[in-house]
């Protein structure tokens, strides 16, 4: 069962990498702040608030999902999440430039964290983790084990694709926090590497051709995740 246990951790980290790669999620902002100040320290200073904003945004979404799961049947929730993913993906395709308006270049750590929080939220970063958190339908995934657990807030994290029969609520919450942490570490690592690489070595010229429309990719990912969740529900 080791592989089965490991995959959600890997998936959470990979989603973190996926989020971190997007220039709109923070590494480009860190580069800009570093260039504005003319110092690598400014790049590094920008990283923790960006990661913190992202983490809080994703965590907020997971807590909402977890709370909902206390009151809503898991299959219903899965369908609701699938609908939300698909609808939000379609929204991002239709209105790709919905972005915060109040931000500028002279930002405090708190501004930066709030910016990251809003950008992550408006891009549906937390939502993208929903299928992972809800896991496959027990009927579809575990072929007749017969288990059909209604989730509670803690067990939501615990059942991230795995089965933790008998786990205590505390264990499950800890495990969920761990997954969130792994996700954020993946995001932060990629953000840091890209920001420093671009600041120190690459420069910005490559952006003119390499910055593909990740917003569109994200929107399509959201829709795909939504449809997959539908299919597995």
């Amino acid at each position: 069962m080791a592989v089965f246990d490991a995959w959600p951790w890997g998936a959470a980290a990979l989603l973190g990498v996926y989020h971190g790669v997007n220039p709109a999620m923070g590494w480009l902002f860190a580069v800009a702040l570093g260039m504005q100040e003319g110092s690598r320290a400014a790049v590094l200073r920008a990283l923790p608030p960006i990661a913190a904003g992202h983490l809080i945004s994703v965590a907020c979404f997971l807590v909402i999902l977890g709370t909902a799961s206390r009151f809503i049947e898991r299959d219903v929730l899965r369908i609701a999440a699938a609908g939300a993913l698909t609808a939000f993906g379609a929204f991002r395709l239709a209105l790709p430039r919905a972005h915060p308006r109040w931000v500028g270049m002279r930002v405090s750590g708190r501004d930066l964290a709030l910016w990251s929080f809003l950008v992550s939220g408006s891009h549906g970063a937390g939502l993208m983790l929903a299928p992972l958190m809800l896991g496959p339908s027990p009927a579809g995934a575990s072929h007749g084990t017969g288990a059909h657990d209604a989730l509670d807030a803690g067990a939501l994290f615990a059942t991230v694709g795995t089965r933790l029969d008998g786990a205590t609520l505390g264990d499950a919450t800890l495990r969920g926090a761990g997954l969130l942490g792994i996700h954020t570490i993946g995001m932060l690592a990629v953000t840091a590497v890209l920001a420093l690489l671009v600041f120190e070595k690459l420069g910005l010229a490559f952006l003119r051709t390499a910055w593909v429309n990740l917003d569109a990719v994200w929107a399509v990912s959201l829709i795909a995740a939504g449809l997959l969740t539908f299919a597995s529900a």
Partner: protein, 492 residues
């Protein structure tokens, strides 16, 4: 529709924009003064030297109504779309927003289907602008990181205040007035920003009722035209500071901020001084950013502007900006017989600096002296001490300096546009219809000239490129893919 890759005309930094390919087309706003009831137009000139139609007009889009008085215009999107806090690089630089300064109508032209024949795809009527923003007489248009910003000279009734309004960069609808707290600001004209410092600067001309009937000598002699710059918090949309040049300095017009977002300075042209009819160029800067406190440079001519009180609550020392005169252009004595009635008593031609432009690398400043017909190039590598590197004469109130192709010219160098690589400079000769008539009573005959600039300074007339107009007058020129005054950058 969003694109897959960023628009190739977007550059993260001015350094990269300097490497942009040369423009193949130029868009020119032309004002119909033929008295024939025909509308103004955007005309398209071929600027590709290898093209058989180089230096000629190859397209034209008439406005739907007559009498707009086209003046300045701008793009829907530009390099600021790459700004990291609101990135949306997968849009196209595709639409020209073309306001009528007299009609208050805003036209949206699509240049994508046929760049030589832009199509009007949307018209915002003055009533809509008045209702949504409370402004009229739209003037300068800049593509910002989070929307399209446009300045307006005044209120719908022709008075003040003038200000800035914002258009949505997707729908191109007017969203509303930009200012949350305008403090003492009343007059408006141009605006510019320092994106790296979250600061916006505005300048002052006059309200519509002060300018539309022509330059009013009583208002001028009373020093009632614009005399100050205003510094604003770009994020909070609040007035921070007034930089007052003094009442003798009348009409503080074109703002040219440094393109490098780390450089908190810029240049502004002042049309005329009531003391001696001279014109001047001033340098605004963040206090302390120019090395030392700048006091020595100021003391030289005693021309340091007074800085007004800080009006907003955000007026920390960090927000202190200052301004000082860096270029003085004296009036030139002239035979009164050659002067228009308004200038005869003075026996001199005022230089009348009506436009300036700064190259994308912030190295060369171009100064148009519409009155004397002189066009100057300064090396402003040290912004405190501009160094004259070239001068040329075309037209002028008394000089009528000739062009090899067309002989004697009237009007003078007015709107300047510089290519992104800094090597080509385009000039047009008309200011504003009712003011043209006061300084060139015989009527300005429209022309657009082109100069080639050396990599290290120097100007040479391109004899192959000279546009002449009949019954029409050219004003602002915009170059395909962007130019020195169209784009702003968030990366140095």
């Amino acid at each position: 529709m969003p694109t897959w890759k960023p628009d190739p005309t977007f550059y993260p930094s001015p350094r990269l924009a300097m490497k942009a390919p040369p423009e193949r087309l130029a868009y020119v706003a032309v004002l119909n003064t033929g008295g024939n009831g025909r509308p103004d137009a955007i005309v398209v000139a071929d600027t590709d030297p290898s093209s058989p139609t180089y230096g000629r007009l190859v397209g034209r889009t008439d406005m739907p109504n007559a009498g707009d008085e086209l003046h300045h215009f701008g793009w829907n999107a530009c390099s600021s779309a790459l700004c990291p806090y609101a990135p949306h690089p997968h849009v196209e630089r595709r639409y020209l927003l073309v306001p009528g300064l007299r009609s208050s109508r805003i036209h949206v032209l699509d240049v994508k289907p046929d760049p030589r024949q832009p199509r009007i795809v949307k018209v915002i009527e003055p009533e809509e602008l008045a209702e949504k923003a409370g402004y009229s007489r739209p003037h300068t248009s800049h593509c910002g990181p989070d929307g399209i910003y446009m300045s307006a000279l005044g209120s719908p009734d022709g008075g003040g205040p003038g200000g800035i309004f914002v258009l949505d960069h997707d729908s191109l609808d007017v969203l509303g007035r930009w200012e949350v707290d305008r403090g003492p600001q009343h007059l408006a004209y141009d605006f510019a920003w320092h994106l790296g410092h979250d600061v916006l600067i505005t300048s002052e001309w006059g309200t519509p009722d002060m300018i539309e009937g022509g330059l009013n000598p009583e208002l001028l002699l009373a020093g009632r035209y614009g005399r100050a710059l205003h510094v604003w918090d770009l994020r909070k949309r609040r007035h921070l500071q007034t930089l007052d040049l003094g009442g003798q300095h009348q009409m503080v017009l074109e703002l040219r901020p440094a393109h490098d977002p780390t450089r908190p300075y810029g240049f502004v042209g002042v049309v005329v001084s009531l003391e001696d009819l001279s014109a001047s160029v001033w340098l605004w800067s963040k206090a302390g950013s120019m090395g030392g406190n700048g006091a020595a440079a100021d003391a030289a001519d005693g021309a340091r502007g007074r800085t007004g009180g800080v009006s907003g609550g955000n007026g920390s020392r960090d927000g202190e900006w200052e301004i000082r005169k860096v270029i003085h252009l004296p009036a030139e004595p002239a035979d009164p017989a050659l002067l228009p009635p308004a200038l005869k008593p003075f026996g001199a031609v005022p230089p009348l600096v009506t436009d300036i432009d700064l190259s994308v690398d912030d190295r060369f400043l171009y100064v148009s002296c519409w009155g004397t017909g002189e066009f100057r190039q300064y090396d402003v590598s040290n912004p405190l001490e501009p160094r004259l590197t070239a001068s040329m004469r075309l037209g002028g109130i008394t000089a009528r300096a000739p062009h090899p192709v067309a002989g004697k010219l009237n009007g003078g160098p007015q709107m300047v546009e510089v290519s992104r690589d800094g090597r080509r400079v385009y000039l047009s000769n008309s200011l504003y219809a009712s003011w043209d008539a006061q300084f060139f009573p015989e009527g300005v005959r429209g022309w657009v000239a082109k100069l080639d600039a050396g990599a290290d300074g120097g100007l040479q007339l391109d004899e192959r490129f000279f546009l002449q107009f009949e019954g029409e007058r050219p004003h602002q020129i915009r170059l395909e893919g962007g130019d020195a005054s169209s784009d702003s950058y968030c990366f140095p």
